[in-house]
Amino acid sequence: MIEIRWHGRGGQGAVTSVEMLALAAIEEGKYAQGFPSFGPERRGAPLAAFNRVNTHQIKVRSNIYNPDIVVVLDPGLIGLVNVADGLKAKGILIVNTTKTAEEISRILNFKGKIATVDATKIAREELGAPITNTTMLGAVIKATGVIKLDSLKVPIEHRFGKLAGRNMKALKRAYNEVKMSNIN
Amino acid sequence: MTTKKKYPEKWTELNPGCMVFEAGSAKAHKTGSWKAQHPVWDNRKCIKCGVCYIYCPEACVSRTEEGYYAADLEYCKGCGICAHECWPGAIEMKEEEV
């Protein structure tokens, strides 16, 4: 079972990322959970959202404390929130940033795998807005292989309708542009 | 002729939800004994507007053949609403006589 924690801010659509990923996994015949951090959501305030993906039924319903994957949608959260908290030593940290993996590793004191991508730039160019929730899905898929890129098509189309094409394009770009680096 | 039971004898005889399927069964409860006063109509003042008929909470006021109004005293509770609402003052509440 793979556990993922997403960091974003209220209004940035982290809950949508979680939903898209869960739906795509289920679309593949897997089992998945997608859930927000329970409680009120305030625009702009840091928040987390979660996924579990598994090949068979998921029984655990408690919070996620030791994720295998952490995704950071907003570069401004680094330093504000301890995004690497509880992340498994062998886990993967996927960050929307213009910094290098080495810099991120130093700031967070995280020695595991780090993937970086300038998702804000991609989102601005492809979607005309710095909303990185779908873009970062591309980076997550490339860095982890947790689902297939194609499996997102149906949920993204269902969710974004006319804008689905642009979102798919943005996330494909992130898929191609993400830089993987193993610090060790 | 069998006399009707006031209540079902056993709990198993109750209607589901205590529903009463007999229409107008409240007729058996003669509320006329509750009144300390009763309304008396003075048809000379009555303009046949029907307000007393509409306002009577017991729905015991009905129209007579001549188009005036009268209460069925078996059910009239003596509340005086009809007298209060009758603006030409055609209804007067009178004490019940001993």
Binding site: L23 | W11, L14, G17, M19
Partner: protein, 391 residues
């Protein structure tokens, strides 16, 4: 054919209710309500369901409107949560006394105060004696299945009682997960149209909700109690037929590795699955642990419960509500009274856990089960424990 989908559980519950072709939904559509209310509104507004969606000014009104609608012969549904249910409290026993088969989806959340919107069972427990059938869903699939079963059971001529389906708030309602949504055809096959005992219609007058004097009130209470107890027969039948049609089987008390277990842990709602992982881990280490899940809360399934815990030395009851100044959690109190006359009864340990959204982990359940193991062959301590309280 049923289709496997990924869906938020609250939305799936609303879809299931729509498949039941309800006539009326009366809901107070803002906090503390969930997506159940919101999504039902969407379904009706989109013209996918020919129903009256009444947005009322309070939950007291939503349940009252359901009462009237059901009396008029409509299949009526409402959804609420925590304080909303508290506001309905006054009307709940009236709905059951009038034998109106209203169905309610309850997203269980803590009751104030202090203000807290998270998951526990403190909203449903004070409604225990309202005369409603009450059951708990453990996951999204069960929330869907039981929403549909609820109408069939409630509207059975032998039952004609309202049902509250407990769906844990957040832990279930806000969870996107995989589940099977039955097709309209399948639901139509399982759920016949609603045939009310009587309807409020001028052509066939009937009085509903009549006064009961002291000389009849005891008899009425006896009827209420008996009908609720007897509803178990219909519930079992409806679950059996569900199993035959859909291949998913439901029991009043579910067990997991309970055979030969010396220590049993008992849960309700969404905690059962997490607890089952702890049981697996302890069993792997050779600890005779097992799990009992109470699905049917009212009518309380005494027989099935006794059968499920037979042979256990320690029974750990996990309560998600507090009976302040009382005998412990409300479930443990009932369990103890159910066992009082049984000679071979197990020791009962009572933990109050998962209050107001406090997370309960597999580790917590393992810890609790180990405490149960330590209690084997010891004189039961009695009382109750606020699990994890900071001291």
């Amino acid at each position: 054919m049923a289709k496997r989908v990924g869906m938020e559980v609250a939305i799936a519950a609303a879809e299931a209710v729509a498949l039941c072709r309800i006539d009326v939904a009366a809901v107070y559509p803002i906090t503390p309500n969930t997506h159940i209310a919101e999504h039902l509104a969407e379904i009706v507004a989109d013209g996918k369901l020919d129903a009256e969606y009444i947005t009322v000014e309070s939950e007291h009104s939503s349940i009252s409107a359901c009462c009237g609608a059901s009396g008029a012969g409509a299949r009526a549904y409402t959804a609420t949560s925590s304080q909303g249910l508290m506001l309905m409290h006054e009307i709940l026993p009236i709905v059951s006394a009038m034998r109106l088969p209203v169905v309610m989806g309850l997203a269980n959340r803590a009751v104030s105060g202090p203000l807290n919107i998270w998951n526990d069972h403190s909203d449903i427990m004070p409604q225990r004696d309202s005369g409603w059938i009450s059951f708990f869903a453990e996951n999204g699939q069960e929330a869907v299945d039981m929403s549909i079963q609820s109408f069939r059971i409630a509207e059975d001529p032998e039952v004609m009682l309202p049902i509250v389906l407990n769906i844990d708030g957040f832990q279930l309602t806000h969870m996107i997960e995989a589940l099977e949504l039955p097709s309209q055809k399948e639901v139509d096959r399982y759920l016949p149209p609603f045939r009310p005992l009587a309807t409020l219609h001028p052509d066939k007058p009937v009085s509903m909700g009549a006064y009961a004097f002291p000389d009849i009130f005891t008899e009425v209470m006896k009827v209420k109690d008996s009908v609720l107890i007897d509803s178990k027969k219909t519930i079992l039948k409806a679950w059996d037929e569900w199993g035959k049609q859909f291949g998913r089987w439901y029991k009043p008390v579910e067990t997991y590795k309970a055979d030969g277990a010396e220590v049993l842990i008992m849960t309700m709602g969404s905690m059962g699955e997490t607890a089952s992982i702890a049981v697996d881990e302890l069993r792997a280490k050779g600890v005779p642990a097992g799990l009992v899940k109470l699905r049917l809360w009212r009518p309380f399934p005494f027989e099935e419960f006794r059968e499920a815990i037979k042979g256990a030395k320690v029974l750990i009851v996990c309560d998600r509500a507090v009976s302040f100044g009382g005998p412990g959690g409300p479930v443990a109190a009932e369990v103890k009274s159910a066992l009082y006359n049984d000679a071979g009864r197990p020791a009962v340990l009572n933990f109050l856990i998962g209050l107001g959204g406090r997370d309960v982990t597999v580790e917590n359940f393992k810890d609790i089960l180990e405490k149960g193991v330590q209690a084997i062959n010891k004189k039961p301590a009695g009382g109750y424990i606020f699990y994890g309280v900071r001291e």
